[in-house]
Protein backbone atom coordinates (compact mmCIF):
# COMPACT_ATOMS: atom_id res chain seq x y z
CA UNK A 1 0.00 0.00 0.00
CA UNK A 2 2.56 2.57 1.10
CA UNK A 3 5.36 1.95 -1.32
CA UNK A 4 6.95 5.39 -1.01
CA UNK A 5 8.73 5.12 -4.34
CA UNK A 6 9.70 8.33 -6.09
CA UNK A 7 10.56 8.89 -9.71
CA UNK A 8 13.80 10.51 -10.90
CA UNK A 9 12.16 13.77 -11.89
CA UNK A 10 10.36 14.16 -8.57
CA UNK A 11 13.56 13.38 -6.69
CA UNK A 12 15.48 16.05 -8.56
CA UNK A 13 12.71 18.60 -7.99
CA UNK A 14 12.51 17.89 -4.28
CA UNK A 15 16.29 18.27 -3.87
CA UNK A 16 16.36 21.54 -5.83
CA UNK A 17 13.58 22.92 -3.67
CA UNK A 18 15.31 21.74 -0.48
CA UNK A 19 18.58 23.42 -1.47
CA UNK A 20 16.80 26.65 -2.29
CA UNK A 21 14.80 26.44 0.94
CA UNK A 22 16.02 28.81 3.62
CA UNK A 23 19.30 29.73 1.94
CA UNK A 24 17.48 32.04 -0.45
CA UNK A 25 16.37 34.12 2.54
CA UNK A 26 19.63 34.04 4.47
CA UNK A 27 22.44 34.40 1.97
CA UNK A 28 25.32 32.24 3.14
CA UNK A 29 29.03 32.58 2.50
CA UNK A 30 29.06 36.33 3.05
CA UNK A 31 32.52 36.04 4.59
CA UNK A 32 33.82 35.90 1.05
CA UNK A 33 32.57 39.50 0.57
CA UNK A 34 32.87 40.58 -3.07
CA UNK A 35 33.92 37.15 -4.25
CA UNK A 36 30.76 35.46 -3.07
CA UNK A 37 30.10 34.03 -6.51
CA UNK A 38 33.52 32.39 -6.50
CA UNK A 39 32.84 30.94 -3.04
CA UNK A 40 29.52 29.53 -4.22
CA UNK A 41 31.11 27.85 -7.23
CA UNK A 42 33.80 26.38 -4.97
CA UNK A 43 31.14 25.14 -2.56
CA UNK A 44 29.29 23.37 -5.38
CA UNK A 45 32.52 21.71 -6.51
CA UNK A 46 33.24 20.65 -2.91
CA UNK A 47 29.74 19.23 -2.57
CA UNK A 48 29.96 16.98 -5.65
CA UNK A 49 32.08 14.20 -4.04
CA UNK A 50 30.12 14.35 -0.79
CA UNK A 51 26.76 14.00 -2.53
CA UNK A 52 28.35 11.29 -4.67
CA UNK A 53 29.03 9.39 -1.44
CA UNK A 54 25.39 9.73 -0.35
CA UNK A 55 24.25 8.42 -3.72
CA UNK A 56 26.78 5.59 -3.54
CA UNK A 57 25.40 4.60 -0.12
CA UNK A 58 21.91 4.36 -1.62
CA UNK A 59 23.39 2.27 -4.43
CA UNK A 60 25.17 -0.15 -2.07
CA UNK A 61 22.14 -0.50 0.22
CA UNK A 62 19.05 -0.55 -1.98
CA UNK A 63 15.73 0.06 -0.18
CA UNK A 64 17.47 1.10 3.05
CA UNK A 65 17.79 4.43 4.78
CA UNK A 66 20.66 5.86 6.81
CA UNK A 67 19.56 4.30 10.11
CA UNK A 68 19.48 0.80 8.61
CA UNK A 69 22.86 1.43 7.01
CA UNK A 70 24.38 2.42 10.36
CA UNK A 71 23.16 -0.76 12.01
CA UNK A 72 24.35 -2.91 9.10
CA UNK A 73 27.81 -1.35 9.16
CA UNK A 74 28.64 -0.86 12.83
CA UNK A 75 26.43 -3.40 14.54
CA UNK A 76 23.46 -2.71 16.74
CA UNK A 77 25.07 -0.86 19.63
CA UNK A 78 27.30 1.73 17.90
CA UNK A 79 24.94 2.00 14.93
CA UNK A 80 22.00 2.96 17.09
CA UNK A 81 24.18 5.36 19.10
CA UNK A 82 25.15 7.25 15.96
CA UNK A 83 21.49 7.03 14.90
CA UNK A 84 20.47 8.90 18.05
CA UNK A 85 23.03 11.60 17.27
CA UNK A 86 21.49 11.93 13.83
CA UNK A 87 18.02 12.22 15.35
CA UNK A 88 19.29 15.07 17.50
CA UNK A 89 20.88 16.72 14.46
CA UNK A 90 17.68 16.69 12.39
CA UNK A 91 15.62 17.77 15.41
CA UNK A 92 17.92 20.74 15.94
CA UNK A 93 18.01 21.54 12.22
CA UNK A 94 14.24 21.53 11.91
CA UNK A 95 13.83 23.78 14.94
CA UNK A 96 16.33 26.23 13.39
CA UNK A 97 14.37 26.21 10.12
CA UNK A 98 11.09 26.74 11.96
CA UNK A 99 12.56 29.64 13.91
CA UNK A 100 13.84 31.08 10.66
CA UNK A 101 10.38 30.86 9.08
CA UNK A 102 8.79 32.60 12.07
CA UNK A 103 11.32 35.41 12.05
CA UNK A 104 11.14 35.88 8.30
CA UNK A 105 7.37 36.21 8.24
CA UNK A 106 7.19 38.53 11.24
CA UNK A 107 9.99 40.79 9.98
CA UNK A 108 8.87 40.93 6.36
CA UNK A 109 5.10 40.67 6.19
CA UNK A 110 3.07 40.18 9.37
CA UNK A 111 4.86 42.50 11.77
CA UNK A 112 2.11 42.52 14.43
CA UNK A 113 1.53 38.78 14.55
CA UNK A 114 3.31 36.78 17.25
CA UNK A 115 5.96 34.41 15.90
CA UNK A 116 4.37 31.45 17.64
CA UNK A 117 1.24 31.72 15.51
CA UNK A 118 3.23 31.57 12.26
CA UNK A 119 5.24 28.63 13.57
CA UNK A 120 2.12 26.82 14.75
CA UNK A 121 0.37 27.01 11.39
CA UNK A 122 3.49 26.04 9.47
CA UNK A 123 3.87 23.00 11.69
CA UNK A 124 0.21 22.00 11.24
CA UNK A 125 0.70 21.99 7.46
CA UNK A 126 3.98 20.13 7.81
CA UNK A 127 2.38 17.48 10.03
CA UNK A 128 -0.28 16.97 7.42
CA UNK A 129 2.15 16.57 4.52
CA UNK A 130 4.47 14.27 6.48
CA UNK A 131 1.55 12.04 7.46
CA UNK A 132 0.68 11.76 3.77
CA UNK A 133 4.19 10.53 2.99
CA UNK A 134 7.07 11.27 0.67
CA UNK A 135 5.07 10.65 -2.48
CA UNK A 136 2.70 13.52 -1.77
CA UNK A 137 5.65 15.69 -0.82
CA UNK A 138 7.39 14.99 -4.10
CA UNK A 139 4.24 15.67 -6.10
CA UNK A 140 3.83 18.90 -4.17
CA UNK A 141 7.33 20.00 -5.14
CA UNK A 142 6.64 18.84 -8.68
CA UNK A 143 3.77 21.31 -8.76
CA UNK A 144 5.41 24.29 -7.07
CA UNK A 145 9.01 24.25 -8.30
CA UNK A 146 8.18 25.65 -11.78
CA UNK A 147 6.54 28.69 -10.14
CA UNK A 148 9.62 29.24 -8.00
CA UNK A 149 12.05 28.97 -10.91
CA UNK A 150 9.97 31.22 -13.16
CA UNK A 151 9.64 33.74 -10.32
CA UNK A 152 13.36 33.80 -9.66
CA UNK A 153 14.27 34.17 -13.35
CA UNK A 154 11.68 36.93 -13.72
CA UNK A 155 12.96 38.89 -10.69
CA UNK A 156 16.53 38.59 -11.96
CA UNK A 157 15.47 39.96 -15.34
CA UNK A 158 13.57 42.83 -13.71
CA UNK A 159 16.62 43.66 -11.56
CA UNK A 160 18.92 44.05 -14.56
CA UNK A 161 18.54 47.84 -14.49
CA UNK A 162 19.70 48.08 -10.87
CA UNK A 163 22.94 46.15 -11.29
CA UNK A 164 26.15 47.92 -10.31
CA UNK A 165 29.09 45.96 -11.68
CA UNK A 166 31.55 47.81 -9.45
CA UNK A 167 30.10 45.97 -6.49
CA UNK A 168 32.05 42.82 -7.32
CA UNK A 169 35.27 44.49 -8.44
CA UNK A 170 38.18 44.15 -7.79
CA UNK A 171 38.43 40.38 -7.92
CA UNK A 172 40.22 38.64 -5.02
CA UNK A 173 41.10 41.91 -3.32
CA UNK A 174 41.65 40.21 0.05
CA UNK A 175 43.23 37.03 -1.29
CA UNK A 176 41.90 33.50 -1.33
CA UNK A 177 41.42 32.79 2.39
CA UNK A 178 38.04 34.57 2.87
CA UNK A 179 36.83 32.82 -0.28
CA UNK A 180 37.64 29.44 1.23
CA UNK A 181 35.93 30.38 4.48
CA UNK A 182 32.81 31.49 2.61
CA UNK A 183 32.89 28.36 0.47
CA UNK A 184 33.04 26.16 3.57
CA UNK A 185 30.08 28.00 5.05
CA UNK A 186 28.03 27.75 1.85
CA UNK A 187 28.99 24.09 1.54
CA UNK A 188 27.64 23.24 4.96
CA UNK A 189 24.52 25.37 4.89
CA UNK A 190 22.55 24.53 1.79
CA UNK A 191 24.45 21.91 -0.17
CA UNK A 192 25.62 19.23 2.25
CA UNK A 193 22.42 19.49 4.28
CA UNK A 194 21.04 17.08 1.69
CA UNK A 195 22.34 14.40 4.10
CA UNK A 196 18.78 14.59 5.44
CA UNK A 197 17.64 12.89 2.23
CA UNK A 198 19.63 9.77 3.04
CA UNK A 199 17.17 9.40 5.93
CA UNK A 200 14.02 10.44 4.06
CA UNK A 201 14.46 8.59 0.77
CA UNK A 202 14.64 4.86 0.64
CA UNK A 203 13.18 3.48 -2.58
CA UNK A 204 13.98 4.51 -6.13
CA UNK A 205 12.73 3.40 -9.51
CA UNK A 206 16.09 2.21 -10.83
CA UNK A 207 19.34 1.25 -9.22
CA UNK A 208 21.25 4.08 -10.83
CA UNK A 209 18.77 6.84 -10.09
CA UNK A 210 20.35 8.06 -6.79
CA UNK A 211 23.37 9.39 -8.70
CA UNK A 212 21.17 11.21 -11.16
CA UNK A 213 18.90 12.62 -8.46
CA UNK A 214 21.60 13.88 -6.11
CA UNK A 215 24.03 15.27 -8.67
CA UNK A 216 21.51 16.86 -11.04
CA UNK A 217 19.60 18.27 -8.06
CA UNK A 218 22.81 19.75 -6.68
CA UNK A 219 23.69 21.23 -10.06
CA UNK A 220 20.33 22.93 -10.68
CA UNK A 221 19.93 24.06 -7.08
CA UNK A 222 23.50 25.31 -7.01
CA UNK A 223 23.03 27.41 -10.12
CA UNK A 224 19.89 28.99 -8.67
CA UNK A 225 21.61 29.74 -5.34
CA UNK A 226 24.61 31.14 -7.21
CA UNK A 227 22.47 33.47 -9.30
CA UNK A 228 20.43 34.68 -6.32
CA UNK A 229 23.43 35.45 -4.12
CA UNK A 230 25.34 37.09 -6.98
CA UNK A 231 22.40 39.32 -7.84
CA UNK A 232 22.12 40.30 -4.15
CA UNK A 233 25.74 41.43 -4.08
CA UNK A 234 25.44 43.15 -7.46
CA UNK A 235 22.36 45.14 -6.48
CA UNK A 236 22.93 45.89 -2.80
CA UNK A 237 26.69 45.90 -2.46
CA UNK A 238 28.59 43.88 0.12
CA UNK A 239 28.18 46.18 3.10
CA UNK A 240 24.42 46.45 2.76
CA UNK A 241 23.98 42.76 2.08
CA UNK A 242 25.98 41.80 5.17
CA UNK A 243 24.13 44.17 7.47
CA UNK A 244 20.63 43.06 6.45
CA UNK A 245 18.97 39.99 7.95
CA UNK A 246 17.26 38.94 4.73
CA UNK A 247 19.25 40.39 1.80
CA UNK A 248 17.26 38.71 -0.98
CA UNK A 249 14.03 40.21 0.30
CA UNK A 250 15.53 43.71 0.24
CA UNK A 251 16.99 43.08 -3.20
CA UNK A 252 13.61 42.25 -4.66
CA UNK A 253 12.11 45.37 -3.07
CA UNK A 254 14.49 47.45 -5.21
CA UNK A 255 12.57 46.51 -8.34
CA UNK A 256 11.06 49.66 -9.79
CA UNK A 257 10.24 49.86 -13.46
CA UNK A 258 8.57 53.04 -14.63
CA UNK A 259 6.98 53.63 -11.19
CA UNK A 260 4.57 50.88 -12.14
CA UNK A 261 6.19 47.49 -11.52
CA UNK A 262 7.26 47.75 -7.91
CA UNK A 263 6.74 46.29 -4.42
CA UNK A 264 7.13 42.76 -5.71
CA UNK A 265 8.78 41.56 -2.51
CA UNK A 266 5.69 39.85 -1.19
CA UNK A 267 5.68 37.52 -4.21
CA UNK A 268 9.32 36.75 -3.49
CA UNK A 269 8.47 36.14 0.17
CA UNK A 270 5.84 33.59 -0.84
CA UNK A 271 8.39 31.83 -3.05
CA UNK A 272 10.98 31.69 -0.26
CA UNK A 273 8.31 30.32 2.07
CA UNK A 274 7.49 27.45 -0.31
CA UNK A 275 11.08 26.23 -0.20
CA UNK A 276 11.40 26.73 3.54
CA UNK A 277 8.20 24.80 4.15
CA UNK A 278 9.41 21.84 2.08
CA UNK A 279 12.75 21.87 3.89
CA UNK A 280 11.00 21.87 7.25
CA UNK A 281 8.73 18.98 6.31
CA UNK A 282 11.64 16.87 5.02
CA UNK A 283 13.55 17.46 8.28
CA UNK A 284 10.47 16.64 10.35
CA UNK A 285 10.03 13.43 8.38
CA UNK A 286 13.68 12.46 8.85
CA UNK A 287 13.44 13.04 12.61
CA UNK A 288 10.28 10.98 12.97
CA UNK A 289 11.63 8.17 10.81
CA UNK A 290 14.87 8.23 12.79
CA UNK A 291 13.32 8.01 16.23
CA UNK A 292 10.99 5.16 15.24
CA UNK A 293 13.73 3.25 13.40
CA UNK A 294 16.27 3.57 16.22
CA UNK A 295 13.80 2.37 18.82
CA UNK A 296 12.64 -0.46 16.58
CA UNK A 297 9.10 0.47 15.55
CA UNK A 298 7.31 -0.22 12.30
CA UNK A 299 5.91 2.81 10.53
CA UNK A 300 6.59 6.38 11.54
CA UNK A 301 3.27 8.16 11.06
CA UNK A 302 1.98 7.84 14.61
CA UNK A 303 4.94 9.84 15.99
CA UNK A 304 4.69 12.90 13.75
CA UNK A 305 2.60 15.08 16.07
CA UNK A 306 4.60 14.76 19.32
CA UNK A 307 7.87 15.30 17.46
CA UNK A 308 6.43 18.38 15.77
CA UNK A 309 5.31 19.69 19.17
CA UNK A 310 8.82 19.21 20.58
CA UNK A 311 10.26 21.07 17.58
CA UNK A 312 7.73 23.85 18.08
CA UNK A 313 8.85 24.33 21.68
CA UNK A 314 12.53 23.97 20.81
CA UNK A 315 12.22 26.60 18.09
CA UNK A 316 11.30 29.26 20.62
CA UNK A 317 14.14 28.50 23.05
CA UNK A 318 17.04 27.60 20.80
CA UNK A 319 18.02 31.19 20.00
CA UNK A 320 16.77 34.45 21.46
CA UNK A 321 16.63 36.39 18.20
CA UNK A 322 17.61 36.30 14.55
CA UNK A 323 20.96 38.06 15.15
CA UNK A 324 21.99 35.32 17.54
CA UNK A 325 20.94 32.70 14.97
CA UNK A 326 22.93 34.28 12.14
CA UNK A 327 26.04 34.68 14.30
CA UNK A 328 25.79 31.04 15.45
CA UNK A 329 25.19 29.91 11.87
CA UNK A 330 28.36 31.58 10.70
CA UNK A 331 30.75 30.67 13.50
CA UNK A 332 29.62 27.29 14.87
CA UNK A 333 27.25 25.59 12.45
CA UNK A 334 29.78 24.63 9.68
CA UNK A 335 32.02 22.75 12.14
CA UNK A 336 29.16 21.17 14.06
CA UNK A 337 27.43 20.01 10.88
CA UNK A 338 30.68 18.74 9.33
CA UNK A 339 30.56 15.75 11.67
CA UNK A 340 27.14 14.67 10.39
CA UNK A 341 27.50 15.77 6.79
CA UNK A 342 30.95 14.44 5.98
CA UNK A 343 32.61 12.40 8.76
CA UNK A 344 29.88 9.83 9.50
CA UNK A 345 28.82 9.24 5.86
CA UNK A 346 32.51 8.82 4.96
CA UNK A 347 32.93 6.23 7.74
CA UNK A 348 29.85 4.30 6.60
CA UNK A 349 31.10 4.46 3.03
CA UNK A 350 34.55 3.07 3.90
CA UNK A 351 33.18 0.29 6.12
CA UNK A 352 30.53 -0.64 3.55
CA UNK A 353 33.04 -0.83 0.72
CA UNK A 354 35.35 -3.06 2.77
CA UNK A 355 32.53 -5.33 3.82
CA UNK A 356 31.32 -5.52 0.24
CA UNK A 357 34.76 -6.47 -1.01
CA UNK A 358 35.09 -9.33 1.45
CA UNK A 359 31.51 -10.41 0.92
CA UNK A 360 30.33 -9.85 4.45
CA UNK A 361 27.58 -7.40 3.65
CA UNK A 362 24.01 -8.61 3.97
CA UNK A 363 21.57 -6.28 2.31
Amino acid sequence: MNKEVISDKQGIFIIVMFIMGTSTMLVTGLEAKKDLWLADILAIIMAVPVLGIYARLHYIFPNKDLFDMLVLCFGKFIGKGIGILYVWFTLHLSSLILMNIGDFITISALSETPKEVVKLFTSILAIWIVKEGIEVMSRWSDFFLPFMVVGIVLTILLLMTKIELNNIKPLLYEGMSPVFKGAFEAFSFPFAETVVFTMAFCKFRRKNSPYKIYLLGLFVGGILILSISTIDILVLGVNNASSLYFPSYSTVSKIDIGDFVQRLEIIAAVMFMLGAFLKFSICLMATTKGITKVLGYKGYRFMVIPIALIILSLASIVHDNIMDLIEWDQSIWPYYAFLFQVVFPMLIFIVAEFKRKYGKLKT
Binding site: Y297, F302, H319
Partner: protein, 70 residues
Protein backbone atom coordinates in the same frame (compact mmCIF):
# COMPACT_ATOMS: atom_id res chain seq x y z
CA UNK B 1 -4.52 32.89 29.34
CA UNK B 2 -1.85 31.42 27.07
CA UNK B 3 -1.21 28.66 29.58
CA UNK B 4 -4.87 27.67 29.57
CA UNK B 5 -4.85 27.55 25.76
CA UNK B 6 -1.72 25.39 25.76
CA UNK B 7 -3.21 22.93 28.24
CA UNK B 8 -6.48 22.80 26.30
CA UNK B 9 -4.67 22.25 23.01
CA UNK B 10 -2.60 19.42 24.41
CA UNK B 11 -5.66 17.73 25.95
CA UNK B 12 -7.49 17.83 22.61
CA UNK B 13 -4.49 16.54 20.62
CA UNK B 14 -3.80 13.83 23.20
CA UNK B 15 -7.40 12.68 23.15
CA UNK B 16 -7.64 12.56 19.36
CA UNK B 17 -4.33 10.75 18.91
CA UNK B 18 -4.04 8.45 21.91
CA UNK B 19 -7.50 6.90 21.98
CA UNK B 20 -7.10 5.12 18.59
CA UNK B 21 -3.68 3.82 19.68
CA UNK B 22 -5.22 2.51 22.90
CA UNK B 23 -8.16 0.91 21.07
CA UNK B 24 -5.86 -0.86 18.61
CA UNK B 25 -3.88 -2.17 21.61
CA UNK B 26 -0.57 -0.86 20.28
CA UNK B 27 1.02 -0.68 23.72
CA UNK B 28 4.61 -0.18 22.57
CA UNK B 29 3.60 2.73 20.37
CA UNK B 30 1.51 4.21 23.15
CA UNK B 31 4.49 4.22 25.55
CA UNK B 32 6.79 6.08 23.12
CA UNK B 33 3.98 8.43 22.19
CA UNK B 34 3.18 9.37 25.76
CA UNK B 35 6.84 9.87 26.71
CA UNK B 36 7.53 12.31 23.84
CA UNK B 37 4.14 13.93 24.29
CA UNK B 38 4.89 14.57 27.97
CA UNK B 39 8.29 16.10 27.13
CA UNK B 40 6.66 18.40 24.56
CA UNK B 41 3.90 19.31 27.00
CA UNK B 42 6.39 20.12 29.75
CA UNK B 43 8.45 22.32 27.46
CA UNK B 44 5.44 24.22 26.11
CA UNK B 45 4.01 24.69 29.58
CA UNK B 46 7.27 26.10 30.94
CA UNK B 47 7.60 28.44 27.95
CA UNK B 48 4.03 29.66 28.30
CA UNK B 49 4.49 30.34 32.03
CA UNK B 50 7.62 32.33 31.19
CA UNK B 51 10.38 30.13 32.61
CA UNK B 52 13.63 30.50 30.69
CA UNK B 53 14.79 27.08 29.53
CA UNK B 54 18.53 26.94 28.75
CA UNK B 55 19.18 26.75 25.02
CA UNK B 56 20.97 23.68 23.63
CA UNK B 57 22.97 25.96 21.33
CA UNK B 58 25.31 27.08 24.12
CA UNK B 59 26.75 23.67 25.12
CA UNK B 60 27.22 22.80 21.42
CA UNK B 61 29.10 26.06 20.95
CA UNK B 62 31.36 25.26 23.89
CA UNK B 63 32.07 21.72 22.66
CA UNK B 64 32.87 22.94 19.13
CA UNK B 65 35.17 25.65 20.46
CA UNK B 66 36.99 23.15 22.68
CA UNK B 67 37.49 20.75 19.76
CA UNK B 68 38.68 23.54 17.47
CA UNK B 69 41.01 24.70 20.23
CA UNK B 70 39.98 28.35 20.24
Amino acid sequence: MVTVLVILGYIIIGFIEMVPLYKKKQKKELVLYSVTFTIAFGMSLLISVGVKIPSPAEPIKKIVLVILGK
